[in-house]
């Protein structure tokens, strides 16, 4: 059933969609924002160690629903599994208003200038990173995003102090909020870093360290990453740009609405979006512009499901690039056991970082930012941080947990991945979701050079911990299987050549004038940092461009 036509319909209210919605609503566009999940509030914070976005032992609180949303994962040995959201291999982020930004750890990194030019930086120095890979430069650079990084930092709200990072790109303004006071871990690791000649500093975070924009400061509890903030001190799109956009009266947010396909006419222009509401009724929302912001897996799935006479392989997929180059981050690091108590029960825990190993590692393409881990929850500690020399159970295990819980510091970092053409999202030929829409099928592997860099990063983390006084250190290594997860990216690559990319430098699909993809799908490479601030900056830039260049009804 067709609805009144609007200027723009945006699909997905995650890290990017509400930013584009706000930019358009502020210049008077009539905008509809569709979100598959629900709108949660701080009152929905349950502080449940076994049911959160980081540990779905008893399910995900912020989506997707366990039933009716399967995916198919193809493992390295070729075995296929149909997986529910809480099962390994699903590569979930979140399905809700705010997306991952409702419950994330909220590190607010700008990418390094060289993260946008991996080919130029490494083509001659590290040729093996280019074998069987699609490692490439972005068509835009750090300088193109710089004003939008700043806008995200000030409008959504970032605390921290990056003045001690000599490797960062140039910036015009400092961060709007100071860092939270250092934790015991921070102080211990800072001494170790200085001993090694590294350059430690306070991690930038999308979290209030002081009251900001009408919401309070962080109360420093340990239910942070994976949880909605109980006092609303964590800044996501759901408590910043979205209320601003709604306040204009120009935006309508429709929750629990699942897009089925983008509709295209016989002239190759998109006319709107077909979607199911919560009762399963099918609607058509006509619009002059369509913005796809569902995250790297679901955005690719929606484009592939949007088949028409002119685009039988799916929208934007004329050269078979939609869904390709699926990537995330390869996290490796080390855990260090200390003689003294290092744990002071202060959230969010993650506090100190070094960027000395982001680029310039001998013989390697790229690297990672290294930081101390977010504050651990007891079950997470037991299931993930055990000393491999300690038994998994029994008296010795209990004794280890009792003694070591407050004496261990984990350090880790997101190794920048080398993109692989065969790591991809396709449509499963058989499995469908609760609305009968073909589901995402994930297949592929990590590039060998990604593993090589990640091993190097684990050694650097161990070195940092030893220099900080750890009496025993053990490494956290990575597997070779497909990577996507909460940092999923790359499936609708940004580029100038329609034959080797999906969207242009303004995030517009090459083949169709009025369809944009705005989320981490467009990342050519995913940086050596948590990607959310870059997603936000790209959304501000795309929204700004569309607001100026787009034609309203």
């Amino acid at each position: 059933m067709p609805l009144p036509k609007v200027d723009a319909v945006i699909i997905g209210a995650g890290a990017a969609g509400p930013i584009v919605a706000k930019e358009l609503a502020f210049v008077g566009w009539r905008v509809v924002l569709l979100e598959k999940g629900r709108w949660y509030t701080p009152a929905d914070c349950r502080k449940d160690d076994l049911r959160n976005q980081r540990n779905p032992t008893l399910g995900y609180p912020f989506g997707p629903e366990e039933e009716g949303n399967p995916r198919v994962i193809v493992e390295l040995n070729g075995r296929e599994r149909v997986v529910k959201p809480s099962e390994p291999g699903y590569n979930n982020n979140a399905f809700c208003v705010g997306g991952g930004t409702l419950s994330y750890g909220a590190m607010a990194w700008r990418f390094h200038p060289n993260d946008f030019r991996m080919r130029s930086t490494y083509a001659s120095k590290v040729p093996r990173a280019f074998e069987n890979s699609t490692l490439e430069d972005w068509p835009i650079g750090y300088e193109d995003l710089e004003p939008y990084y700043e806008k995200a930092e000030w409008e959504i709200g970032v605390s921290g102090d990056v003045s001690g990072d000599p490797f960062k790109g140039p910036r015009r303004r400092p961060l709007p909020m100071p860092p939270l006071p250092p934790t015991r871990e921070h102080e211990i690791l800072e001494k170790g870093a200085r001993r090694l000649g590294l350059h430690p500093f306070f991690i930038p975070m999308l979290r209030n360290s002081v009251p900001y924009h009408g919401r309070p400061a962080c109360m420093r509890c340990r239910w942070c990453v994976g949880f909605a903030c109980e006092v609303d001190a964590k800044n996501g799109t759901q408590n910043t740009v979205l209320p601003m956009a709604l306040a204009t009266g120009n935006l309508e947010l429709r929750t629990e609405c699942s897009a089925k396909e983008i509709l295209v006419d016989d002239h190759g222009r998109a006319t709107g979006v077909a979607y199911f509401d919560r009762e399963g009724r099918l609607w058509e929302q006509p619009a002059r512009y369509i913005v796809v912001s569902c995250g790297a897996i679901e955005s690719a799935r929606l484009l592939l499901n949007s088949r028409s006479r002119l685009f039988p392989q799916g929208l934007g997929n004329r050269f078979d690039w939609v869904g390709r180059n699926l990537q995330g981050h390869t996290y490796t690091g080390a855990n260090g056991l200390f003689e003294e108590i290092v744990y002071d029960d202060l959230g969010p825990g993650a506090s100190i970082a070094v960027c000395d190993y982001v680029h310039g590692n001998p013989g390697l393409a790229g690297g990672a930012m290294l930081a101390n881990e977010f504050i651990r929850l007891p079950y997470q500690f037991v299931s993930g941080i055990r000393d491999p020399d300690v038994p998994r159970w029994g008296r010795a295990h209990k004794e280890f947990v009792r003694r070591a819980y407050r004496r261990i510091i984990p350090v880790q970092g997101p190794t920048q991945e080398i993109p692989v053409f065969e790591s991809r999202v396709t449509l499963d030929p058989k499995i469908r979701d609760r609305f009968g829409i073909p589901v995402a099928r994930l297949s592929g592997y990590r590039h060998p050079h990604t593993i090589e860099v990640s091993e190097y990063m684990a050694e650097r983390a161990a070195e940092w911990l030893r220099a900080s006084g750890a009496v025993k250190v053990w490494l956290r290594r990575a597997g070779r299987g497909l990577s996507a997860g909460q940092h999923q990216a790359g499936t609708c690559r940004m580029g100038r050549d329609p034959k080797t990319s999906v969207v242009d430098p303004w995030c517009r699909i090459h083949d169709v004038d009025n369809v944009y993809v705005v989320d981490a799908s467009v990342h050519v490479t995913n940086g050596a940092y948590n990607p959310v601030l870059t997603i936000m900056a790209i959304a501000y830039r795309a929204g700004d461009h569309l607001a100026r260049e787009g034609r309203r009804a």
Binding site: D48, D49, T57, L58, Y379, V401, R402
Partner: protein, 194 residues
């Protein structure tokens, strides 16, 4: 069925009786065995066996063990909810380990001393339990119960385990803060332990 002459102690006689009648009811009418009082799924005998099992994984010492901390209740509750798909795995594994204990030690698993329970679980962890009782040598059942025991012991009390914040007290982290408080003091809630 367990001959009551082989078991000492009044309370156990009662449990044996309940288990026997439950088993008889199940055999006679093809109905599901009745859950123990205070439980949703586990029979009295199963709850005893599982209690001994999780107390082997996380034994009591100066701090509570898994059973005292409510881990059996955690698993029992979840077997009617999130772990519903594991109902038959539990029923089979608890029966199998008990039969193994009877044939090898002449006693119910729940009555074995810690060292003998450990010995059986070590075999299961290695996949070396008798194949007629555990088709895979016991590894899958062992890993399942281990994961659930750790969740119940170290997770939130809201799910029935970690009773009285037993594990959080053990490691020295405070319980959940009260909304509206600036922060909470670990030193006041739990004295610093070294």
């Amino acid at each position: 069925m367990i001959p009551s002459s082989q078991i000492g102690g009044g309370s156990l006689k009662r449990r044996t009786f309940l288990a026997s009648s439950a088993a008889a009811a199940a055999a006679g009418c093809g109905r599901k065995p009745a859950a123990a009082p205070g439980y949703r799924f586990l029979t009295p005998e199963e709850a005893d066996t599982l209690g001994a099992w999780v107390d082997t994984l996380i034994p009591p010492d100066e701090d509570p063990g898994a059973r005292e901390a409510g881990v059996v209740h955690y698993i029992d509750i979840q077997l009617t909810r999130w772990f519903r798909k594991h109902q038959s795995d539990y029923r089979a594994a608890l029966s199998a380990i008990d039969r193994w204990s009877w044939s090898r030690r002449g006693r119910a698993f729940a009555l074995l001393p810690l060292a003998e329970r450990e010995e059986l679980l070590v075999q299961m962890e290695k996949g070396k339990a008798p194949r007629d009782l555990f088709p895979d040598g016991g590894r899958a059942a062992f890993d399942l119960v281990l994961a659930h025991a750790m969740q119940g012991f170290y997770g939130n009390p809201r799910h029935g385990g970690n009773r009285g914040y037993a594990s959080w007290k053990m490691i020295g982290v405070p319980p959940m803060p009260v909304r509206g408080r600036e922060h909470y003091s670990a030193a006041e809630t739990f004295p610093e332990r070294s």
